[in-house]
């Protein structure tokens, strides 16, 4: 056992001893440095969640700035240069620094627990993913300050849109280094996500508890698996696209240079080949969360489990065949437009299957209306609208009118906010008690929900109208006689309502951490394995790895079914809890836990420095490379045991 408090240490003999002492300290789970060196998936999950939430607030401020500028016609709250940078950062932040890392947070917190494992397959790779995400996000936001005097409104942030179309993003048309910050940051974030994809795929395929076949896994774990494979195949494509853009900008290559025979359309193809699977990467985890929340609060199992799983897999496969529906207006020709039109029309089918199965889960249930299920039902309601507007986009000739208008903005916010964000909040309210042993306050939770639902609809439904009234996207202002002012003003009011709802959430979290009702192991009487261990879970998760006999194994330990299908509680003595509450640090028993390590952080420091080197002074590049190599070698050569 490591000593609980720092004592006077004997004089250092070697570097190896010093490192070992640092790691022992970190292994006590106490203090700031234990967070720096952690490789525990639960701590990494918390790091991801908190960091992503902070970026959510930043992206939200960026959204409010946009809405204030557009609330009235001919406004000049933000000039075109500032506006272009703000909307670029809003989109980039929300996609890459908020929704993806929030999903990663849930993967980290839940997947090992749901499959009965002690950690992920590669704990240090896991930590590396987090640190790369943090440093990539910081690098991107550093660019705000590189344009001159930030406080005078001179920003250096990228201004090419979150989708960075060439040739606008080439040197000739974007001479400042904002786009370089954007490209390098996305590369770094891409590596983080790719590593996460590898990690969770291996974890899910290889580390399930005995008896947990693939079809006894919770749906959330299935969605994580599909998402991981989407990441594994999609990230390399955007990575190459970003390399090509960077080479065009820094080294005068011709990938998107029409003057030398290149075509800007190559960027679009590559971006959307990544981009469409990416939107399913954004939504599938939230769908997984909804699939866990609904059965718990309806008090009956998920309806059609195999079909919900297969539809998720189908969505994963089909997502590769629809990318050019983002390019209908680029003149690809009738054959291409027809092919992608048909594939896009059809991808609605598996999503419909999920929605019907969720409704059937609730049907015949005894729905306990707590905050998590409010958000889950809100997800279904909002996502249905988003999905149906998606069908209207897939009708190619009408998309020629809708493309690049606020009708599209309404659609994707409907599915990404009304869908993903609502789903993620359902998860927060559902699993907060598991990791903090406190329930979030119910009245505040419901207030959050209603304010957010109302605010969301008041913001984005007017945008459907604006799009059909001919308002294009990404315009800094509009004339007063176009009939757009009223709806824009309404949208802005809605945006501030959303902001208020987030404030309510923050207050709820702060209050509940101190004064919230103590949750205990299983406050919701739920179905999956994470509810069978203490709240918060001990470092080793399970004192004994459970033996799994069925889907929703934990539920079946609590309830048997009578002949008519009604559940009957199993007599108290017969219930076998997999948990003996072992002493604080997971007492011996030969439980092997991964050692903490500083090397993932060190290795993650290198790439941003390399990026800054390429942007400012090539001499810095070897420094960054050296740090990366030192980090990687330290990682590889670290002693496996103490």
């Amino acid at each position: 056992m490591a000593t609980a408090s720092p004592t006077v240490r004997p004089k250092r003999v070697s570097m190896a001893d010093a490192l070992r002492d640092m790691r022992e300290d970190a292994g006590t789970y106490r203090g700031f440095w234990s967070w720096i060196a952690t490789v525990d998936h639960k701590r990494i999950g918390v790091l991801y969640g908190v960091t992503a939430f902070l970026f959510f607030l930043l992206g939200g401020v960026e959204a409010l700035l946009i809405r204030v500028q557009l609330a009235k016609p001919d406004a000049s709250v933000l000039d075109p240069d500032q506006f272009n940078r703000v909307f670029t950062m809003h989109g980039t932040t929300m996609v890459f620094l908020v929704v993806m890392p929030l999903s990663a947070s849930f993967f980290n917190l839940l997947v090992p627990l749901m499959i009965g494992a002690r950690d992920v397959a590669f704990p240090r790779l896991n930590a590396f993913s987090y640190w790369l995400f943090l440093f990539g996000g910081l690098l991107l936001n550093l660019s705000w300050f590189t344009g001159g005097n930030f406080f005078k409104g001179e920003f250096g942030a990228p201004d090419g849109g979150w989708f960075g179309y060439a040739p606008l993003t080439l040197n000739r048309f974007s001479p400042d280094n904002g786009i370089d910050y954007w490209a390098f940051s996305l590369q770094i974030l891409g590596i983080a996500s790719l590593a996460g994809g590898f990690n969770f795929a291996v974890t899910i395929l290889n580390m399930r508890a005995p008896g947990m076949t693939l079809f006894r896994m919770p749906v959330f774990v299935w969605m994580t698996l599909v998402t991981s494979f989407l990441l594994i195949f999609a990230i390399p494509v955007i990575s190459i696209a970003l390399f090509e853009l960077t080479f065009d900008r820094l080294f005068d290559a011709n990938f998107f240079n029409a003057a030398k025979g290149g075509t800007p359309l190559l960027w679009q193809h590559m971006f959307w080949l990544f981009g469409h699977p990416e939107v399913y990467i954004l939504i599938l985890p939230a769908m997984g969360i909804v699939s866990e929340v609904l059965p718990t609060f309806a008090r009956k199992p998920l309806f059609g489990y195999p079909f919900v799983v297969f539809s998720g897999i189908a969505i994963g496969f089909m997502s590769w065949g629809v990318w050019a529906h983002h390019m209908y207006t680029t003149g690809l020709g009738s054959v291409a437009n027809s092919a992608f039109g048909i594939s896009t029309i059809l991808i609605a089918v598996p999503t419909g299957v999920k929605i019907f199965n969720w409704m059937a889960t609730l049907y015949g249930g005894s729905i306990d209306f707590k905050t998590p299920v409010y958000f889950a039902i809100g997800f279904i309601a909002m996502f249905t609208v988003g999905g149906l507007t998606g069908v209207t986009h897939s009708i190619v000739p009408t998309d020629y009118q809708q493309q690049d208008t606020y009708y599209i903005v309404a659609h994707f916010h409907q599915v990404l906010f009304g869908g993903a964000i609502f789903g993620l909040f359902a998860g927060v309210y559902y699993w907060f008690p598991k990791f903090t042993n406190r329930l979030l306050n119910e009245p505040l939770g419901k207030l959050h929900f209603w304010l957010m639902l109302i605010g969301f609809n008041v913001t984005f439904q007017p945008m459907m109208i604006l799009g059909l009234l001919g308002m294009p996207r990404r315009i800094q202002t509009y004339p007063s006689d176009y009939g757009w002012g009223f709806w824009n003003a309404m949208a802005t009011a809605g945006a501030f309502t959303i902001a208020a709802s987030i404030l309510v959430f923050i207050i709820n979290v702060i209050w509940s951490l101190r004064k919230g009702e103590v949750a205990g192991e299983d406050p919701w009487d739920a179905r999956t394995l994470e509810w069978s261990i203490p709240s918060p879970p001990p470092p080793y998760n399970f004192a004994e790895i459970p033996q799994v006999h069925a889907l929703d194994d934990f539920w079946h330990r609590k309830y048997a079914e009578d002949p008519s299908g009604r559940p009957v509680p199993v007599p108290a003595g017969a219930a076998v809890h997999a948990e003996a509450h072992a002493d604080e640090h997971g007492g011996g028993h030969g439980i092997h836990l991964p050692s903490p390590s500083y090397f993932p952080l060190i290795a993650a420091l290198g790439p941003p420095i390399i990026a800054l080197g390429f942007i400012y002074n090539v001499g810095i590049v070897p420094v960054g490379a050296l740090i990366t190599i030192v980090g990687l070698y330290g990682w590889a050569l670290e002693p496996a045991t103490e």
Binding site: R118, F122, P123, L205, S595
Partner: protein, 197 residues
């Protein structure tokens, strides 16, 4: 608290595959998309250079065939290295790993020579579509080979310290998987970029 590394190799896995081996396969799968994108860009822009020099002006197929053969042979020596460590023969493994590295470096030298020749004939990243797509594609491949050589030399160094024994053969196997992949990618590049015109 007794902390021990979660040894991925020793635990039972659901698929029966070691975690690290599954990781390597997934990594190679993603690398297929990586090279696939670069090769697609090359093929898309194949006949779209507005000015020369053009591939037919520059390619020295016999020369490139020799260096391709060198890389192919390095896969053979890699297999022999793995076979050696699997039967516990560390010294022989080391010899074959060094051979593989040497052949890899020889291949890279051939690439470097070829690139400087092309450069002297007027082909740069900037000249035309051929220059852009050729150098980036083969450059990334060369970078992969270089990383491979580093990995192999690291294994050699580790084995000199006694850290690569028969039970660690998976480390050599993983390096081998990576090396063979990089070799196969070269076969594809050589065929599509050099031979098919």
């Amino acid at each position: 608290m007794a902390v021990h590394e979660l040894s991925a190799g020793h635990a039972e896995t659901n698929t029966g595959l070691d975690n690290r081996k599954l990781l390597m396969w997934l990594f190679l799968a993603s690398d297929c998309l990586f090279f696939g994108s670069l090769i697609s860009a090359y093929l898309l822009y194949r006949d779209r250079s507005l000015v020369g020099p053009y591939p037919s002006d520059l390619y020295d197929i016999p020369f490139t065939s020799v260096s391709s053969f060198v890389l192919l042979m390095s896969s053979l020596s890699m297999v022999l290295a793995l076979a050696a460590i699997q039967r516990g023969d560390v010294r022989t493994m080391r010899i074959w790993l060094l051979t593989t590295s040497l052949l890899g470096v020889l291949f890279l030298s051939g690439q470097a020579f070829e690139f400087t020749e092309f450069y002297r004939e007027g082909l740069t990243l900037h000249t035309n579509m051929f220059g852009t797509t050729f150098f980036v594609l083969t450059g990334f491949h060369g970078a992969h080979v270089s990383v491979g050589v580093l990995i192999l030399m690291s294994l050699v160094a580790a084995s000199l310290k006694g850290n690569v024994q028969q039970e660690d053969s998976i480390k050599v196997e993983l390096a081998g998987l990576y090396w063979h992949f990089v070799d196969i990618v070269w076969i594809v590049i050589f065929t599509l970029v050099y031979l098919v015109s």
